[in-house]
Amino acid sequence: MAQVTVVFVQPDGSRREIVAPVGITLMEAARQNNVSGIVAQCGGACACATCHVYVKESWLPKLQPPEDMEEGMLETAWEPRANSRLSCQVQITAALDGLEVTVPEHQA
């Protein structure tokens, strides 16, 4: 199975590279690797906004844009920014090899 490397940056700047298979979500990759700060309480149903990440700007064009439900969730997530996404809604594809995201200080 094809794999990619994705980078999770913690609020303190520490970086963690993880290898994830194509086909799962960014949230699942984080959870499987016990990445700190990705809570994902609802397990990927787009119902809790606790898997919020900031996507490094240069990667944004390579992601599918968020649907309305995700945008609505993000609006009142903890400190949303223009590059906010719910990691459960980001599918890992081969084009995302090297993707870098930052975990917020808090989740919803």
């Binding site: 799962i24 699942e28 959870r31 499987q32 016990n34 309480q41 609802c42 397990g43 149903a45 787009c46 119902a47 809790c48 906004a49 309305d68 439900m69 995700e70 945008e71 609505g72 969730m73 609006e75 009142t76 997530a77 919803a108």
Partner: protein, 404 residues
Amino acid sequence: MISTILIIGGGQAGAQAIDTLRREGFKGRLILVSDEPQLPYQRPPLSKKFLSGELAAERLLFRHQSFYDDHGIELKLGVRATQLDAAVRKVVLSNGEEVVYDRLLLCLGAMSRQLTCPGADLPGVHYLRTIADVPQIQSALKPGTRAVIIGGGYIGLETAATARKMGCLVTVLEMADRVMNRVVASNVSEYFAHEHRTQGVNIICNTRVVHLDGTTKVERVVCADGTSYEADLLVVGVGAVANMQLASDAGLKCENGIVVDEYCQTSDPAIYAAGDCTYHPSLRFDMRVRLESVDNAFEQAKTAALNILERPTIHDRVPWFWSDQFDNKLLIVGLSQGHDLQVTRGDPATRSFTVCYLKGGELMAVEAINHSKDYMAARKLIADRARPNIDKLADPQVALKEAF
């Protein structure tokens, strides 16, 4: 000195407790007993994407085996706790083993309420609660299968939607006058019944099942008014009851669930409980509740774990729930019991609207249909006991958070 913590139950609460205990630095012996043979997994997809085959079993797992290995978790899977002797802090397991604990956390969950009518014990009467329940239901989900679902609650309607999407001819039989009658407003019930009917699901309310008929397996459902429905597949979703036998046999205080306080502590100071099995105080709503909720299981488990580690923490959260049916997402936050005012924002015909409940001027619950903005705003507003301006609240053009 707390050196051994025993967790019984491998659902959402058990998995979260492990996570919190290790993350917060507990270095002692940590044991998880689960009567299911699988590693702890998420249940919500069982009636949705797992049932439809879109999600593989591996993706249900909270953590892979390596996490438990790396964190020194002793897993005792496929093993049931048969007896609790609180006086000597000992649990007897179905494999004959005995475990002595310093602190015990009961995450026993709930079980499906069973039908009791004649024929209820026939083979082919399915319930949907654990992953082991899925294969037999799933194998029948194909075009043309006549699927009868008894119960129009979350499980019944989610299963109905999945079965319909897979081509089954689906009938839902509901005893009350509307679907999801215990959990949503009547216009929300109407909306969902309409959505199901538009997709071809036959929803029948005000109907009471009196017996199940069949020779070697269930073949037919017979109702009080004499109508009957042929069933190639029968799934029952008529609610759940707390698993508390182990606790009540041990003399722990139990009512509608295992009684705990706001610290998630039971009537025995060395024993805590979390999740669907608990009957616990809701501080925000000033009442005792038993909730079937991922969020509640998660939060109570976290609270219990911190208290076990002697970091006093209170469980004081506004609960939330969700349901996916066809392309609709129902998001609920708060508890609506005892409301004195109900306000609908928006028109159900637009397929996106919100029902708000108030009591004494305070927002206490919200049901948001395909409207995540209102839902997310309400989570904070309800916790803050915010008091909306009713005219603004009723105006869907005004953002919910601006109605205060």
